[in-house]
Amino acid sequence: MGGALSTSVDITLNSLVLGGVFLIVATGLNIIYGLSRVMNLAHGSLYAIGAYAGYTLTTIGFNYFAAIVIAPVLVAAVGLLLERTIISPMRKRSMVYTLILTYGLMFFLDGLIKQSWGNEPRFVELPAMIKSTIPILGSHYPVFRLVTLFIIAGVMTGLMLFLNKTKIGIILRAASTIPEMVSCLGINMKHVHIGAFVLGCALAGIAGTIAGPLTTIDPLMGHEMLISSFVVIVIGGLGSLRGAVFAALLIGAVQTLAEFFITDLAMVIVYMLMAVILAFMPRGLLGEGRFE
């Protein structure tokens, strides 16, 4: 049952799944920051809300795949509500106050999660057909993790198509490079900001729903994911979607290998890399990032 081949299969697939979840959360954060210069510390809580929404939907009868579609829509609705009430007035304010506001928002959302779903870990009931494992190169790998990989790939390609091909997507991308020019073209920047924030929240929701069955759903799951997604967007270059792809896969692999080989200091090296990039290569791995 052992063997080096099957282990490397396990490690690669595990790091791809982890990297994929990081990528979706980080891309959400990038889109929100890239377009509206809002660094959303409550992004982790939206990820957790996505996981809990997926859990509740599966318990009241929806099947797993339906939940993956519905839950992000709910989180996007929460995002819309938040944007209209407390995020949009912050647009003109300094970055310090936006950070503190979203931090307060995170406390508020975590408290709500604890109040409505309690503290104990929750488990998502997976549909029977994807509960089993299939042998790949001698290692029994869970089917639903492969399904998750496909879902992640689907979401990212969908996002890329949306951003590159559709009219709205192009506007969003243009606005992230030169916001002033876009507003001169008669495009209402208010809608762009709303669209960006809601899209970012939806992505956090999707990542949460997907990660639900992979890890433990408990109120604190958002905290760690928030820090990992910060590391990813910084190393990939703030606001750079392509940079985030490389950074997410890199951090996913480092974290999986660190846990596999129990090297405690692996994460220290990751933070050191983040520091080096921030201080000496602020435009990130691919040189596409931008600090306002």
Binding site: P89, M90, L265
Partner: protein
């Protein structure tokens, strides 16, 4: 006095009101442990003072030099661990040596970090503090042999507090520790207030106001940002030393990213750039965190709401309330 030697408005200077207010405050705080002997309140105010000092040190960075640090509590943690380990392993009785060792070690660590930090500004600076802070947190959390990992530092002795050989009391006794903390925090406040109102402080404020113009009047912006950073980290180091003496315990959670952002909230609650505002902000934050959390399990919801409403409607914090109402009155 010759008009040419007066500086208009910017320094209200020491007026009768201000001296009276400060003496009333310090006298009140000093008498407190004798009036109310219940040790719970003494410990609560002690914790408020320590976090107040930490919040004040962050205000030196944020309110005066315009640099946002996400994890300023990391330097409190480093100093606390160093003082704790010094007391456990090197000499359990020499309090002052331990304090000095803690502050010096924190500064030695803060210097190279500061050198890298000041190469950046704005959001990059903030994210860099997160990177370094998480680095220190992970080292402390994973180095189980030395720091006790998740259990934190165990068995930190309570050395006697002796000033020039005269034994005042045992740092384990809350009332003595409280007075010791009060004296040190008051000294740090007065010292920092003096530094902030000195020519050096004026340079920091110029950098906060407009970093590029500051460079264009001949200020070596990086060097002065580094000095501001070192001052803030040393004050956090003092707070860390007091923390380990008061609590007898330090764990990775005190150095976590979320405790760091909590300090940021204290500064905002109090009021940026007022130096004593964060002391009030820390008192309010600790009051909510320690006192209200005994009433309800969901104190986080209320704390989150308070912060969101504050940022939206009262960005100058509670201390700024006065000037806010004054401006309202004037309009």
């Amino acid at each position: 006095m010759d008009k040419h030697l007066t500086i208009p408005d910017n320094d209200k200077g020491i007026t009768a009101y201000k001296i009276a207010a400060i003496t009333v405050l310090i006298a009140g705080l000093a008498l407190f442990p004798f009036v109310i002997t219940n040790r719970f309140y003494i410990s609560l105010i002690n914790e408020m003072l320590i976090y107040g000092l930490l919040a004040m040190s962050l205000d030196v960075l944020l309110g005066y030099t315009g640099l946002l640090s996400f994890m300023h509590n990391a330097y409190l943690g480093i100093s606390a661990y160093v003082v704790g380990l010094f007391l456990i392993h090197i000499s359990p009785s020499s309090l002052w040596l331990a304090l000095v060792a803690g502050v010096i070690f924190t500064s030695v660590v803060a210097l190279p970090v500061g050198w890298v930090q000041v190469r950046t500004g704005g959001l990059a600076f903030a994210l860099l503090t997160l990177a370094f802070g998480m680095m220190f947190h992970t080292i402390v959390w994973k180095w189980y042999g030395l720091t006790g990992g998740d259990d934190g530092l165990m068995g930190v002795p309570n050395p006697a507090i002796t000033i020039f050989g005269w034994k005042i009391g045992d740092s384990g006794d809350p009332a003595t520790m409280y007075l010791f903390t009060l004296v040190i925090v008051a000294l740090c406040y007065l010292l920092t207030r003096r530094i902030i109102r000195s020519p050096f402080g004026a340079v920091l404020e110029a950098i906060r106001e407009n970093e590029e113009r500051a460079a264009f009047i001949g200020i070596n912006v990086r060097m002065y940002k580094l000095f501001g950073w070192m001052l803030a980290c040393m004050l956090a180091g003092v707070a860390g030393a007091l923390f380990i003496l008061y609590k007898g315990y330090i764990g990775p959670t005190t150095m976590s990213a979320f405790a760091g952002a909590g300090v940021l909230m204290m500064v905002l609650l109090g009021g940026l750039g007022t130096l004593w505002g964060p002391l009030v902000g820390a008192a309010i934050f600790i009051y909510i965190q320690d006192y209200i959390s005994t009433m309800t399990e969901h104190w986080e919801i209320y704390l989150g709401m308070v912060v969101v409403l504050l940022v939206l409607f009262l960005p100058t914090g509670f201390v700024g309330l006065g000037s806010y109402f004054k401006r309202l009155g004037k309009e």
